[in-house]
Amino acid sequence: MTKEDNMMTGAQALMECMLAEGIDTIFGYPGGSILPVYNAMYDYRDRIHHVLVRHEQAAVHAAQGYARASGKVGVVVVTSGPGATNTVSGLADAMMDSTPLVLISGQVGSGSLGTDAFQEVNFVGITQAVTKWNIQIKRPEDLPAAFAKAFYVARSGRPGPVVIDFSKDAQTNSAPFHYEKNREHSILSYCPYPNIDMAKIDEAAALINLAKRPIAMIGQGVTLAGAEKELYNFLEKSGMPVASTLLGLSAIPSDHPQYVGMLGMHGNYGPNVKNKDYDLVVAIGMRFDDRVISNANTFACNAQVIHLDIDNAEISKLIYADVPVLGDAKETLPKITRRLQPRNHSEWIKEFRACDRIEMEAVIYPSIKPRTPYLRMAEVASAISEAYNHKAILVTDVGQHQMAAVRYFKYTSPRSVITSGGMGTMGFGVPAAIGAKISMPERDVILFVGDGGMQMNMQEMCTAMQENAHIRIVLLSNNYLGMVRQWQELFYDRRYSATPISNPDYEHIAAAYNFGFRRVERHDDLQAAIEEMKSYNGPFLLQACCEQEENIFPMVPAGASVTDVRLE
């Protein structure tokens, strides 16, 4: 904590705020209204590394990848007007997927606010619905406290994105600088860590002790709380099976003996088809998203529900919680575990293994060892996961390749899946992978992307080139906006309206961006291509030309009961 009241400009103060919070990497793009900040940044360039993206949306996605891979707060700096509005999709994505971000946007001078000045936009107004909190700073003396609060709000409780809209005169004017970190109780209106109600803990434990066919459903809350160990202990003592949401994946290893698979529309067969058999659902840091529950009236209709969450607004939002346990899972889980009688549910878990065999026969085996001539997405994902000993960080874009990748990858350590869940933002993948690689340089970062999503933020290959970020891009090209095509096939009479998509020559693209490149079309060439990608010293693009009209199964048709999950 700096005690001396030294005078400095708001722009320099921002740099000092960042240092005080331990920030060493930021993602951004300069422009007129943020020039003073970039000018100050020049003096800090040895301590704060600025990653120049090629589009502000990508700055946010890169910061998301950075935050989700490392658990740190992602920081973004952009200019006013178009620079700011370009970030809105990213902010909305971070809001939905609870990603801690602080975004600093330039703003016109405070004297010009409200005059339709050049590159003025009401960014505080625009971002109100897609941020956890936002604030406009018009005087340099207000910055340090606002920054401390922003940083704290972004990462505490249920994390989320925060915007600081920084007027140009506040960047250039000077004020004494004094920084104090925000404490847990210094914001009277904000209690990120609710008091734990011990009566609910007792009730939850009692229900678990009585349950015959319980299941734990875990979400990203486990990862955000850093409660992987606590979850492990809970599972060991309760003996119950555990399923994961898309964002909960990798919180426990895929080969955990009680793990029964992924929930949701394209989840595994067992946890969906057995839904009516549950007599107890223990939801941990998940929010019963409609892609998970499909139909709120029929979901877990024979079960009581214990819901552990840090966000009170999630309790009984879509699924009624018989026992709400409000609080940080890292604290509430062990309290429940302590009150449990050790149980063994191995007979119950065997029922899931029977489902696994059905899914294996009907879906998995034909997908990873196809008899058809063309490559299938599952086969590629499965082989790559294997080639990296299931230790890589998987980043995905949005579409069929996303579902294939998350389903066929296996996970051995936490924070190994970075995907756009709540928003399903195409274009997320390339920048998110760069951010993840920059935060975790020692880990392999593998992006799965479709031919649609690739071209939504493909310009960021140049960022990877400039940053020398050795990401691996696995492009599963099917010449279709595949996920939409699948719906058209199944529900719109195969009327492929606007879903066929042609591709550039990716060999040229890769060469232009200084990426290694390999294209594969045949099963027999896959292994060699993967080996080449693995050993390549530099960023690499692997284009796998996949069967064009492959469908992703299992699938729960939208709005159906999850027990009506289709295998074909």
């Binding site: 909190w133 709000v153 109780h185």
Partner: protein, 182 residues
């Protein structure tokens, strides 16, 4: 499910843009604001919004939680009309005349101002009361009419926000002294 009347009282910091934050939640739920009043509360630095809406029991709980989740919002309480004492105020600008004076006498209306050819009348009460009066006056020419949002105080012993604030202040002081002790 049938909609019922609810009064939301929202306690917050006094900051620019808060109303927008509250509205964001109501817009998402497609809930119309019937009336809205904002003022300071009995507690220093604490702002109070009184919002009258129509909703269902499940929905209103979610709305309250989602508003309360906003960082700048301290507490949100949901009341039904029988739990509060509430009033609205209405002003009428009418032309002067014999028949109007009779209505004034019979309906406990206050006269705020008398001009050469007009009068400004005030009536406080529930919506039905002021609406009924408007109907009565209309045949004689109502030049202007305005009705305020609903204001309400709760019948229960204290507003929950004071105990909330006491607890938060206690935690804050404890944290600060723990820090100073280090």
């Amino acid at each position: 499910m049938k909609k019922r009347d609810y009064i939301l009282t929202v306690f917050s910091e006094n900051r620019v843009g808060l109303l927008n934050q509250i509205c964001t939640v109501l817009i998402c739920k497609n809930v119309n604001i019937e009336t809205l009043t904002t003022s300071e509360s009995a507690l220093a630095g604490v702002h109070k919004f009184t919002i009258y809406v129509q909703s269902t029991p499940e929905e209103i709980d979610l709305i309250a939680k989602q508003i309360e989740k906003k960082v700048d919002i301290m507490k949100v309480f949901v009341y039904t009309p029988d739990e509060v004492v509430m009033q609205e105020i209405a002003l009428f600008k009418v032309s002067r005349g014999k028949s109007i004076e009779r209505i004034i006498r019979e309906h406990s209306v206050r006269i705020l101002e008398v001009g050469d050819d007009y009068m400004v009348l005030e009536r406080t009460g529930h919506t039905e009361d002021t609406q009924a009066l408007l109907k009565l006056l209309q045949p004689y020419g109502v030049q202007q009419f305005v009705r305020s949002g609903l204001v309400a105080v709760i019948k229960a012993e204290n507003e929950g926000v004071s105990s909330y604030l006491e607890e938060r202040l206690r935690q804050k002081l404890a944290e600060e002294s723990a820090e100073a002790g280090k």
